[in-house]
């Protein structure tokens, strides 16, 4: 099972790497054929990724949300599928060039995590689990995409203000397009993160007695939620539009990463993935 996992994982990462390279080529010397090939490589990667993901779930009977390996797989998968949807609707090959390495990095991190899924201890399990974990990861993936788009918008804006059009400019998505899609991602992710908080509270109430205990993870999650609430509120205002909101989204991703991983690394939380 471990070796099969590794094999599938390596294939997936290779496919994503190949796709990245092809996307870069298709942007350097604009060519629709190269872009098509990049998409093919990506789809192959996604198929293998899905197989790994689904295979693990079916074989062990455990949804991939109980352990770090599974979660990283899920996260990477959501990122890539999210990108495919964006690509289909808005054709942003430039996003692919930067997103796919990120997804590959996530999967490479998975190599470091133990591959065998471990069930959560029975006393922790609840019906809220799939709701909570599922909405959380969907939201994280969406916020990651939004942050990447925000970064691309920031780079684009810098290029426009500094040196004007150049060959490199054509390879980044247009400014307003990146900003709009980022906003859509956040708009989709916001109700999800709200659901995560609420379902988390419900679950905590069930298992630990109190729905809210100011546990570091809960606190960080709340801060993240507040940040995105603020973003959605001020985004349209002239003073916050453009660069400031882009930085908000980048900061939001930072909060997400701290909430998801950072807090666990400090060991201060009871909200643990490893089932201890």
């Amino acid at each position: 099972m471990e070796t099969a996992s590794s094999l599938f994982l390596s294939t997936t990462v290779t496919a994503y790497g190949l796709s990245t390279w092809l996307y870069r080529r298709s942007l350097a010397l604009p060519s629709a054929r190269a872009a098509a090939w990049a998409r093919h490589a990506l789809v192959i990667g996604v198929i293998v990724h899905t197989a790994l993901f689904a295979g693990r779930w079916l074989l062990t009977g455990l949804p991939p949300v109980g352990d770090l390996f599974g979660l990283l797989l899920l996260y990477g998968w959501l990122l890539v599928v999210g990108y495919l949807l964006i690509e289909g609707r808005w054709r942003m090959s430039a996003l692919g060039v930067y997103l796919l390495p990120v997804a590959s990095l996530v999967l490479l991190l998975a190599f470091a995590a133990p591959a065998a899924p471990r069930p959560l201890p029975a006393e922790v399990w609840s019906v809220w689990l799939p709701v909570h974990a599922g909405s959380a990861f969907l939201a994280y993936a969406l916020f990651t995409l939004a942050a990447l788009l925000a970064l691309l918008a920031l780079v684009q804006e810098r290029r426009l203000r500094r040196s004007g059009p150049s060959r490199l400019l054509a390879s980044l998505p247009p400014l307003t397009a990146a900003q709009t899609v980022a906003h859509r991602c956040v708009a989709l992710g916001y109700p999800l993160i709200t659901l995560t908080l609420c379902s988390g509270a419900a679950w905590a109430g069930q298992v630990w007695g109190t729905p809210w205990s100011w546990d570091p993870k809960q606190t960080m999650a709340l801060i993240t939620w507040l940040l995105y609430t603020f973003y959605l509120r001020v985004r349209g205002e002239p003073r916050w539009a453009g660069r400031p909101s882009a930085w908000l989204l980048v900061g939001g991703l930072g909060c997400v990463l701290i909430t998801f991983l950072g807090v666990n690394l400090t060991g201060l939380t009871v909200h643990d993935f490893t089932g201890r």
């Binding site: 426009l160 004007g164 060959r167 247009p174 397009a177 205002e237 002239p238």
Partner: protein
């Protein structure tokens, strides 16, 4: 047969002289018809920046003289005046010249797109007039292919080097698809109108305001834009994504407070202001507002200069493509010469055989019929056997340099057969 090109361009002749030499429009067809009296095959490339005659002639020197006469006859410009401005390229150099021209390397603006179409048009016109034969037709086809390849495989034609196109590229960088985007033209300055036309071609909706409403309305009806009165400028500003400003006003007509108000109305959407007026139309302070992208004439020219320099870096790659095209054409030309070369060789051999046979038979007057025939048969056999192997080999090895070598070695230069007079080197 000798391939050559003769002409003048924007680097060798001033506008007035080029104008007198121009053989475009109505003058092209009669000129092509007349060209038949001066060369075996011919084609004329005449644009506002160059007039060139490509031809296949019998002899190098007489051919050059003949084409010079053609230009003098067609334009009425005396040869003495014309001489100093003309350039001539022979053989391989002529081939390379046309390929470089088609690829945009000889243009006033490096990599410009129009020249490729103009070369294609010249090709069609020469074919239609019946004055372009197989060699010139192939030459033009090769050059056009090279030109296309240069533009797709390198960045020689890629980014904007004219102000109007630079404006469009900026707009695309900010807004992406321009279809349906509102564009505002303030004042009727040249560059603004150019850029507006480019944007309208991409599907943008153009509105125009001018101090004198009648002129705005006139231009609007001509171009399908919408005209609004000058007083509505602030409102028009708020409703537009892209603003092209080029009035003759002495002071800024678009003030920073105006821009600020427009931004508030646009709820944070970016605003692109292109100020082509001298003195400025837009207050520089507006550039510091968030989500405002302001470019003045200096910035635009800087961008075009940078892009032109970028194109310059592509020249080497294009020269490689041109090299390939030239080699392909020269191979083709060589192969065409194989059959005539073999024929010329046989002819020469036949001449020698005849003369030697006569001499020998002359010294042997008392031969019988049978003996005479034996000697005649021997002379035929020697010639045929000697030539058989080289002829077959020449036919089957593609004849690249062999035809040329044969001509050199056997001194086969003949009026009726095409020849590459220049040794093939890598230099034009």
């Amino acid at each position: 047969m000798h391939l050559l090109v003769i002409g003048l361009n924007h680097t060798t002749a001033a506008l007035d002289l080029r104008g007198r030499l121009a053989l475009a429009g109505d003058r092209l067809a009669p000129a092509l018809a007349a060209l038949r009296d001066y060369a075996r095959e011919g084609a004329i490339l005449s644009t506002c920046n160059r007039t060139e005659v490509y031809a296949l002639t019998g002899h190098q020197t007489t051919g050059t003289g003949s084409l010079k006469r053609f230009l003098t006859d067609q334009s009425g410009v005396p040869a003495t005046e014309l001489e100093a401005h003309l350039y001539v390229y022979h053989g391989v150099a002529a081939v390379r010249h046309l390929c470089r021209v088609a690829a945009g390397l000889d243009s006033m603006i490096l990599g410009e797109p129009q020249i490729l179409g103009q070369v294609a048009d010249a090709h069609e016109a020469a074919l239609a007039a019946g004055v372009a034969g197989p060699v010139l037709a192939q030459l033009f086809r090769t050059a056009i292919t090279a030109g296309k390849q240069a533009r797709t495989d390198t960045a020689i034609a890629r980014n904007a080097v004219s102000l109007g196109h630079a404006a469009v590229e900026l707009a695309r960088g900010i807004f992406g698809e321009l279809a349906g985007r509102p564009v505002l033209v303030v004042g009727l300055g040249e560059i603004g109108r150019d850029a507006a036309r480019n944007l309208a071609d991409q599907g943008a909706r153009v509105t125009v305001v001018n101090r004198t409403f009648e002129r705005a309305a006139a231009w609007a009806t001509e171009t399908g834009a919408l005209a609004r009165p000058w007083a509505e400028l602030p409102a028009a500003l708020a409703a537009s994504d892209i603003v092209l400003s080029g009035t003759a006003a002495g002071a800024p007509v678009i003030t920073a407070p105006m821009v600020e108000a427009a931004l508030r109305a646009r709820r944070g959407q970016p605003l692109l202001l292109i100020d082509q007026a001298v003195p400025r139309d837009v207050e520089p302070a507006a550039a510091r507002l968030p989500n405002v992208f302001l470019y003045d004439l200096d910035r635009l020219q800087e961008i075009c200069r940078a892009n032109l320099a970028e194109r310059g870096r592509e020249i080497e790659k294009v020269e490689v493509i041109v090299d390939g095209a030239v080699n392909r054409f020269m191979s083709w030309l060589d192969e065409r010469q194989v059959a005539p070369t073999i024929a010329a060789l046989r002819e020469q051999a036949e001449r020698i055989r005849q003369s030697e046979l006569e001499k020998a038979l002359g010294r042997l007057p008392h031969l019988s019929e049978r003996e005479r025939n034996a000697i005649i048969a021997m002379s035929h056999a020697i010639v045929n056997k000697l030539l058989h192997t080289p002829s077959t080999r020449l036919k089957h090895t593609g004849g690249r340099d062999y035809a040329h070598a044969l001509r050199e070695l056997f001194a086969l230069t003949d009026e009726e057969t095409p020849a590459t007079q220049e040794p093939r080197t890598n230099q034009a």
